[in-house]
Structures are given as C-alpha cells and as structure tokens.
C-alpha cells in the first residue's frame, strides 16, 4: 500500500449513543489493517429515521450537516448498511425536494465515497482475512438494507469465514426482514413482533451461540426479543467479531 488509507468514521447516532463498543470495534479493525481513522466530531445523524418516517423537510438540515462534515474525506465508513443506504440513495433526493440542487450534487458525490464496513474492507482494502479470532458458533442475519439496498452479497460471510475458530451456521430464511423497520416497530408493533418471532425461531433453530449482523438497529430489535425470552443467544455486530483476536477475545 503506497500510503496509509485515511478513513473518516461515521459511527451513526445509534452506535454513538447506545452501542459505543461497535464503534470502538470498527476503529480497531480499520487500524489493525493499517488505516488512519479519523472521527469528525461534528457528525450527528444521517437523518434516515426522519426520511423514512416522511419528515423530509426536517431532514434537510441533517443531510446538510452530514455532507458538510464529511465531504472533505476520500473514504467514509459506517458500521451500518441502512445508514449508508440512506446516504447513498436518499440524501440527494431530500436536497432536490428542498430545491437545493447544489446540496444534492454534493450529497451524490459524498454518497459515492461512503461505504458500509464490509464493503470497505473487501472492495477498497481488498481484504477478507482481517486477522480475527472468535471461537464461537455464529448465525449471520444479512439485514435488508445491506442485502438489497447496497447489495453487499457475500462480503460479510467471506469476512466471517476467515475468522479463526468461528463456526458459521446458515440462518434459515435469512433474507427475511426481522420486522424492525424504524418507526414501523412502534406504528405496526403487532406485525413487527410477528416477524420478530419468526426470526427468533429461525435463530434458535440454528443452535448458534451468537446472532450477528452488520446493523445495530436490527440487532437491537432481534436482541431485544431474545433478551425478553431469556433465550441465551447473544447479538453481536460484525465489527465486534472482526475486532476480536486471540490476544483480546471479548
């Protein structure tokens, strides 16, 4: 590598506030692979919840905040498929609707440089073996936005297969949504819980110790359900598995 890749971490508001260990793990993986990680402190939230709930005028300020904070970086990495999906596919639409063509163009440009963690590791750094060790059985939930909005495909699985000691167990009906859907989980709580129930049944059927995913929001949903059932299965973010080594197993 000619020069240390410089990466701006977009930690996401959810990870920042509720799951800081996922952010720390993302930093650890990127630094272990030789990246210089920068955390622009002016960052807040991508506005996905506002956009998907229909508050498009309220989201304009958040889009502007994101673009202004991150547009000077060559690579932006987030441990979330849905936030990157929103940045890549929705930010310019929000700016266009507000009649701000300039912001829309800037948002589009930033969107091309924003990557979900597994995309960045596999496509930009060209790495699948990140030197991790994690001696546990893991069922991986691919999450809808990583799977369909971003099309990350096999990337997270390729990363997991290279983790020493990790036994990957296929999750039946993995491509089915867990029922989170942002405000859907509250507005349509009954349907959301019905979907969650089926997802938990599938997770439990694998017998895995850990259910992993690359989005803390989906994990908060699945994990919240499993915890209520006291099912004994942990939910762990992909970044946390990739950060684990033989010296420092979590």
């Amino acid at each position: 590598m000619p020069r240390r890749p410089r990466v701006a971490l977009f930690v996401t508001c959810l990870v920042d506030t509720l799951f800081p260990d996922v952010g720390k793990a993302t930093v650890a993986v990127l630094e272990r692979l030789g990246c210089e990680v920068v955390f622009p402190v002016k960052q807040t939230c991508c506005g996905q919840a506002h956009i998907n709930t229909g508050y498009h005028r309220d989201a304009v300020g958040l889009v502007r905040k994101f673009v202004t904070t991150f547009e000077d970086f060559d690579a932006i990495v987030a441990p979330s498929g849905s936030c990157i999906g929103s940045i890549r596919h929705q930010h310019s639409m929000i700016a266009e609707k507000a009649g701000d063509g300039g912001l829309a163009a800037r948002a589009r440009a930033v969107g091309t440089r924003a990557f979900e963690l597994s995309e960045y590791l596999v496509d930009q750094l060209g790495v699948t073996d990140v030197g991790a060790a994690y001696p546990h059985t893991v069922a991986y939930h691919p999450t809808c936005h990583s799977l369909r909005a971003l099309g990350v495909g096999e990337r997270p699985l390729a990363l997991l297969r290279s983790v020493r000691g990790l036994q990957l167990i296929e999750l039946p009906n993995g491509d089915q949504c867990c029922g989170f859907g942002g405000t859907f989980a509250v507005k349509n709580a009954d349907t959301s819980v019905a979907m969650l129930t089926d997802k938990m049944t599938d997770v439990l059927s694998t017998g895995a110790e850990v259910c992993a995913a690359s989005d803390s929001s989906c994990l908060m949903h699945i994990g919240g359900g499993l915890s209520r059932l006291q099912a004994g299965v942990r939910t762990v973010h992909l970044a946390e598995i990739l950060a684990a080594t033989e010296d420092a197993a979590p």
Binding site: V38, T44, G47, G61, T69, A149, N188
Partner: protein
C-alpha cells in the same frame, strides 16, 4: 365514441363505491388478522409455495434482468404518451367493430356496464376474474340494478359463495384452505354431492359442474383485461383455468372494463409482458390460457364487444412524478408473496382490492392519501418487493414518498402539530448541531437510573414510556452506556479528535 367527457382536472376515486378504502387503519385490521393462527398458517404455506415456484422459473431465464429492464422501459414510455395510446386504441377497437366507453370513475363505469347489460334484455352476467371490476364494486352495482353477476374464476367463486372479500390479486381465496372450501361448497352449492372430499381435484370438479350450466346459459359476459394492444385494438386476458375463455367466447355480448394504464403500444411490447407475467405470478413458464380478441366477428364469438376505459383516480396518479410508477404494475402479485408484512397479515388488512406492497402505494394514490393514510407505513422498507417486481417498480421509494405526502397533508390541515411531528422537529433541531446532540446524549443517560437493579445489571430496560411502550411489549430496550462513543474518542484519541 364517448359516454362521458374525459375529466379536465385530476380526480380521485370516489368514496362510497368499490373497494379501495378499508373501514379500519392497517394496524387495527392487522391486529385482528394476526390473531388468527389458521389464517397465518394458510398464508405462510401458500406464499412460500408460490415464492419457491417463481424463484425456480425465473432462475431459468438467462436474460431475466434485460426482460425486466424492457418491461420497465415499455411501461414508462407508454405512460409518457398515455393519451395518444388510448386514442389510438379507441380508434382501432372502433374500426374492428367494438364500442369504446370512457368512464371517469367507478360510478360512471358501473352505470355504463349496467346500462349495456339492460340493453341486451339479460338479467345475469358471467364474469371473468378481473381486478378492475372488483375495484369499482361492479357486482354490487349490478345487483342494485337487478342483475346477477356470477364469478367463474374458481377462487373468485369461492370468495363470492362465502360472501367474503378477495385477499390476494392472483389467488383471491389464498386465506382459505381446502377443508374450509369443502365446507363452503357443501353449504352454498345447490345439489352438491354430500360425499364431497377436500381433494383439490374433487373440489375443482364440483365447481366445474356448478359453473358449466352458467356458461351455457349466459348471454352476457363481463371481463377485465391484462393488456390492450393499441396498434390493432386487441384485448388480452391471461388465465389458468379456461373459465375465462368460456366467458370470452360463448356469450353474445362481451363487456370489458379496463384501467387506462393497461394499454401497450404494440404486439412487440406484449411479447415482453407475456414472458414476465406468468413466471412472476403463478411461477409458470407460460400461462395455460391466453385469450386475444379484436373487435366483433360475425359467426365467431360475441357479436357485441364493448370496452369501458376506467380512470378512477389513475390520471391523478399519473400526475405524480414519483408515484406514477405504480401505474406500471401488471398485477402479477409477486410483491405480495415475498412481502413479510403481507405474509403475516394477509390481504384484508389492507382494506383494498389491491393488497400488499403494490396496494400500499396504489390505493392511497387512487383515493387520495387522506383516505388510506396508514397504508404507506405498512412496510419495513425491506425491499423484497422491488427485487421481484417484473417491471422494477421501486416500491420502497414510493412508500417513503407517500409518507412524506401524508406528513405534509397532516401538517397543512392541523392547527396543532401531532406529537410525532413535534418529536421529529425537536430531534432534527438537536441533531443539526453536534453540541446540542452531545448534551441530549448525556441527558438520555438518565434512563440508566430507572428500572430494577437486576435489569440494570443486564444492561436493559423492560418498559419504556409513551409511544415507545409499543417497543417494550415484546422487546427489551438497551440501557444507555456510561460513556458514548464520542466521549470515549475524546478521552482516548483527543489529538485525532481535534483535527476536525
């Protein structure tokens, strides 16, 4: 030839007629459906079967991606010239001896059909399965005019005999299993063999005997159309049973009610859709019966052929630059079968003849968002619908577009903002400034203080207040940690952190 002049301004589908509006909101109706384990079992089984069939036959087609692109392109080009295509269609149908009627809405279409039937002197019609006539509530309108309408599609017959409502575009009785259908037949079909079993063949044979008399006696048939080819004025119905073919060929008079978005410019275009539709809908390589007819012919088939072109809100959908793609739908119902919400709630929860993801974007646009405001939220935006759509309708994006429309309409109508809009505005205000955001994060830590000691030790919250209580009915919430990520970063990496 015009019965009513085309409307000059976009109008929505009228209330009080047809089946586009539910009496309850989606969450209310879904709650009831979710409480019915038989329904969930029937739906889960049926949708899984169709999903697998579709996936297999789609995988066989090497150029499926190109076919979808072609389908999307043809539909978009057609919608951009819809007025011209419809006038061309009218001209060609008329030239071939058919009669074209323009119906601005459901009431107008119902009146036209009732008048046409009355003019034949007949008091009954046989019907080909049709979404458009369900949409406008034609059977009820005909009943009010003293005309009996008999559904001949097996599943529609099951729905009609049970006094039920269709719950799926392609499989209207998907919510029923064969034991339920057997009981219904024993109850509702006169002179039925009391030894009828629930073997699908036996059930189909019983329906066949029941329907045969209707076909032979009927003087008038009513159909919908899957496609209309503008260049020749040819109408097309695609079906599986052959009962549609009977209706289209045996009676003297054939009346077709078709949404204006069903027109395609040419036969070359039709070729694309006849590949896309059967694989997407029934999971078949080709559907068993494809009927095509062009006007009226002496000594062969119906002597009088009518085409009723239905708007019923479609023009107003066309006026919406984002939402108009919903008109590209070819009613294959692949999006229903893959939708995790539809699979669990079934079609009735959507309150419209168009259920599932396509219904969630079509019904609110046809009626105006005020009348179906809960439907755009009946999705997790998981995107499975977009993936399977044969004409690549970006349903998740249109759902988000309609949610924004709903928010704006509610804002404009209310003096007092909704609690949700206050919360959203406050969150946006907080999050457009990182210092305000850090302060808010610190105050969220107060949640660490509440709850039982045991839950605190496990790092979770078992009950949340206000609207968030809906979360903790079945899910624990995470307890805010002692330190946010940005606090950790500032402490550990302050030199890096101050670069920006």
């Amino acid at each position: 030839m015009s019965d009513t002049p085309a409307p000059t301004a976009p109008i929505h589908a009228p209330a009080g007629v047809g089946m586009l509006r539910g009496a309850r909101t989606f969450p209310e109706a879904a709650r009831q459906a979710l409480g019915d384990p038989q329904l969930r079992h029937n739906l889960g089984h049926a949708t899984a079967t169709i999903r697998e069939k579709r996936a297999n036959v789609v995988a066989e087609v090497a150029d499926w991606a190109e076919l979808r692109n072609a389908g999307e392109a043809i539909k978009s080009a057609t919608m951009a010239t819809l007025d011209e295509q419809l006038i061309r269609l009218e001209h060609q149908v008329t030239a071939a001896g058919g009669v074209v009627h323009w119906a601005s809405d459901a009431d107008s279409a119902n009146e036209i059909v009732a008048r046409l039937v009355r003019e034949t002197g007949s008091r009954e019609v046989v019907k080909v399965k049709s979404m458009a006539t369900q949409e406008i509530g034609l059977n009820d309108a005909l009943a009010q005019a003293g005309i009996d309408a008999y559904e001949t599609d097996l599943a529609e017959l099951i729905v009609q005999l049970g006094g039920d409502l269709p719950s799926h575009i392609l499989v209207p009785a998907i919510h029923r299993n064969r034991a339920e259908i057997r009981n219904l037949f024993l109850r509702a079909i006169p002179d039925i063999d009391p030894g009828l079993t629930d073997d699908p063949r036996a059930l189909a044979a019983a329906a066949r005997r029941h329907l045969r008399q209707r076909f032979l006696a009927a003087k008038v048939a009513v159909s919908g159309a899957n496609f209309a080819v503008a260049e020749t004025g040819t109408l097309c119905v695609v079906e599986s049973e052959g009962n549609g073919r009977m209706c289209l060929t045996l009676p003297d008079t054939l009346i077709t009610v078709m949404g204006i978005e069903k027109v395609v410019p040419s036969w070359r275009d039709l070729e694309v859709f006849l590949q896309l539709l059967p694989r997407s809908s029934t999971g078949e390589r080709m559907n068993p019966y494809t009927s095509l007819w062009t006007g009226a012919h002496r000594g062969d088939g119906p002597r009088a052929v009518h085409l009723v072109l239905l708007d019923n809100g479609r023009t107003s959908v066309l006026a919406d630059q984002v939402g108009r793609d919903a008109l590209n739908c070819i009613r294959c119902s692949a999006c229903l079968n893959v939708c995790p919400v539809y699979q669990r709630t079934g079609g009735h929860a959507y309150g419209s003849v168009y259920p599932g993801p396509i219904g969630a974007i079509l019904s609110p646009q046809l009626t105006g968002i005020e009348h179906n405001a809960s439907l755009p939220y009946a999705s997790t935006l998981c995107g499975a619908c977009y993936d399977v759509c044969p004409v690549k309708i970006d349903i998740p994006s249109i759902l988000v577009h309609l949610r924004a429309q709903d928010v704006e309409v509610k804002r404009a109508r209310r003096d007092v903002p909704t609690p949700e809009s206050v919360a959203m505005a406050a969150a946006a205000w907080t999050m457009t400034d990182d210092r305000r955001w850090s302060r808010a994060q610190r105050s969220s830590r107060l949640a660490r203080l509440v709850g039982r000691r045991r839950d605190k030790a496990r790092g979770l919250i078992r009950s949340l207040p206000g609207p968030l209580a809906a979360w903790t009915v079945a899910r624990d919430a995470p307890r805010p940690p002692a330190q946010t990520f940005r606090e950790w970063w500032a402490r550990e990496r302050s030199s890096d952190g101050q670069r920006r």
